[in-house]
């Protein structure tokens, strides 16, 4: 028997608010299944379970704000007997009294749930958990609400608008969510600057070959199958990370733990402010089209603030790209407990020497921030040189 607990989704997380159960007692669950949705400073996070078994009981109620480590559910290993003795201590949810009789003011999450592209639930209507919650509370039929979220999903503001003739207070709620996320960023970045002895190396890389190859490839394809230059940068970084171990892993308890696989964090800027860096698992093994699909999916869900718990905690190296328009270069701050961060400036056409001639070429500045407790300039140099080498033969990526 296992107790499924409120997970820590980062060093800065102290508590989360349970907003939705995706399972019920008696359900069979497998490692990696999403069992609950928890509202955090980083949005509504889908919580995965890390064991197989059967849900014996749900021990925490919706709306309850629970500290990291609090019991959420009891999971029986398959074939195991349920605890039968009435005296058997069953974990009690924290704040039970509040949770049992939800008082909206007291139990509403500090961070307002944001819109999410959510699969149609039992009602057959795509709606975010927060929208379902409010609709249930106010007795509103979700099917009668016009959805303004991604894919026409009903989001909280739609339900609020339907519930009241007063306009939904969208701007202030968004501002509040951004303020909460800013606190999470501040905590992580202050810790990084305090604990990690950063050093940075930059290299200007000629990406003309990569860009030209991609333009030819994309010219034959419909928009849905096109790939962005950023996906090539991500793939090159993932392959380089697999080769230069000192850039890929975590620093914990005074020692570096190299990672066995490359889970590449991608820094996603949110419209209106805020930044989040969910990870793409085993990014070095993905074909370019798979990398692009993974990035699209991650960006869409990050913007909707609907990520999975593993995506927030599994990253082994993060890439932050300024996109096709923007500044030439950036020196980033490492996202702890990772030990390196690659920042890619916007590619620009610049005079460049090729052979003995000066030519206009598309170039981009790659800046690696690394952790001096783990690596030196030598390894950082190898990492950047490897990316340069890989980007000269884009067809091989």
């Amino acid at each position: 028997m296992g107790i499924f607990q409120m997970p820590s989704l980062g060093a800065d997380m102290e508590a989360g608010t349970l907003v939705e159960w995706m399972v019920k007692p008696g359900d069979t669950v497998h490692r990696g299944d999403i069992v609950a949705v928890v509202e955090t400073q980083k949005g509504a996070i889908e919580i995965e379970i890390f064991e197989d078994g059967i849900v014996e009981s749900l021990d925490a109620a919706l709306g309850a704000k629970l500290p990291v480590g609090a019991p959420l559910a009891t999971i029986l290993a398959e074939g195991a007997a349920p605890p039968s003795a009435p005296g058997a201590p069953v974990s009690k949810p924290v704040e039970t009294t509040q949770a049992e009789k939800p008082a909206p003011e007291a139990t509403m999450p500090a961070t307002p749930p944001k819109a999410g592209p959510v699969e149609p639930g039992a009602t057959g209507v795509a709606a975010s958990p927060a929208a379902r919650h409010l609709a249930a509370e106010r007795g509103i039929n979700l099917a009668s609400v016009r959805g303004s979220g991604p894919g026409g999903a009903v989001v909280l503001t739609d339900v609020e608008a339907a519930a009241s003739t007063t306009p939904a207070s969208k701007p202030s709620k968004t501002a509040e969510a951004i303020a909460e996320m800013r606190k999470a960023i501040a905590a992580a970045m202050q810790r990084s600057k305090r604990e990690i002895p950063h050093f940075q190396l930059s290299q200007v890389i000629d990406v003309e070959a990569a860009s030209a190859w991609l333009a030819t490839r994309n010219a034959e394809l419909p928009p849905a199958n096109r790939i962005l230059l950023g996906a090539l940068f991500m793939k090159a970084a993932a392959l380089a990370a697999a080769k230069v171990q000192e850039m890929n892993g975590h620093y914990r308890e005074d020692r570096f733990e190299p990672a066995a696989q490359v889970n590449l964090g991608v820094a996603v800027a949110l419209r209106g402010g805020g930044l989040i860096a969910p990870a793409i698992t085993e990014a070095d093994t993905l074909a370019l089209s798979e990398m692009m699909a993974a990035m699209k999916d991650l960006v869409a869900r990050a913007r909707a603030m609907r990520l999975r718990s593993s995506e927030l905690t599994s990253g082994t190296l993060t890439v932050s790209a300024l996109g096709e328009k923007g500044a030439d270069s950036m020196t980033g701050i490492i996202f702890p407990p990772q030990v390196a961060l690659l920042a890619v400036g916007a590619p620009k056409r610049r005079p460049w020497i090729v052979g003995e001639s000066v030519m206009p070429r598309l170039v981009a500045t790659f800046t690696l921030s690394a952790d001096h407790r783990v690596s030196d300039g030598r390894q950082a140099n190898r990492f950047l040189a490897e990316i340069d080498r890989l980007l000269q033969t884009p067809e091989a990526l």
């Binding site: 303004s148 991604p150 968004t174 419909p222 928009p223 096109r226 962005l228 230059l229 996109g323």
Partner: protein, 82 residues
């Protein structure tokens, strides 16, 4: 469809990608990247949405021709009239 219809359709797809934008506040000459802050993935998603809606496959070289609502409505009207 008139150019005005195309503008409305373009703005509708734009709002799906950037739900924080207010349709009434988007100017004819607002640049989708410089003024409305779309990134390259947003632009790609917009082009894909227009492809799905109108069956028009906009090549990368023509992205500059849909960079503002005014440019886009003229472009869509011209391409789809042909």
């Amino acid at each position: 469809m008139t150019e005005q219809d195309f503008r409305a359709a373009f703005v509708e797809e734009l709002i799906k990608i950037a739900p924080d934008l207010e349709p009434d506040e988007i100017g004819d000459n607002d640049h989708i990247q410089d003024d409305l802050d779309l990134d390259s993935m947003d632009v790609l998603n917009l082009v894909a949405a227009l492809h799905a809606r109108f069956g028009l496959n906009i090549p990368e070289a023509d992205y500059v021709r849909i960079a503002t609502p005014a440019l886009a409505s003229a472009y869509l009207a011209a391409e789809l009239a042909a």
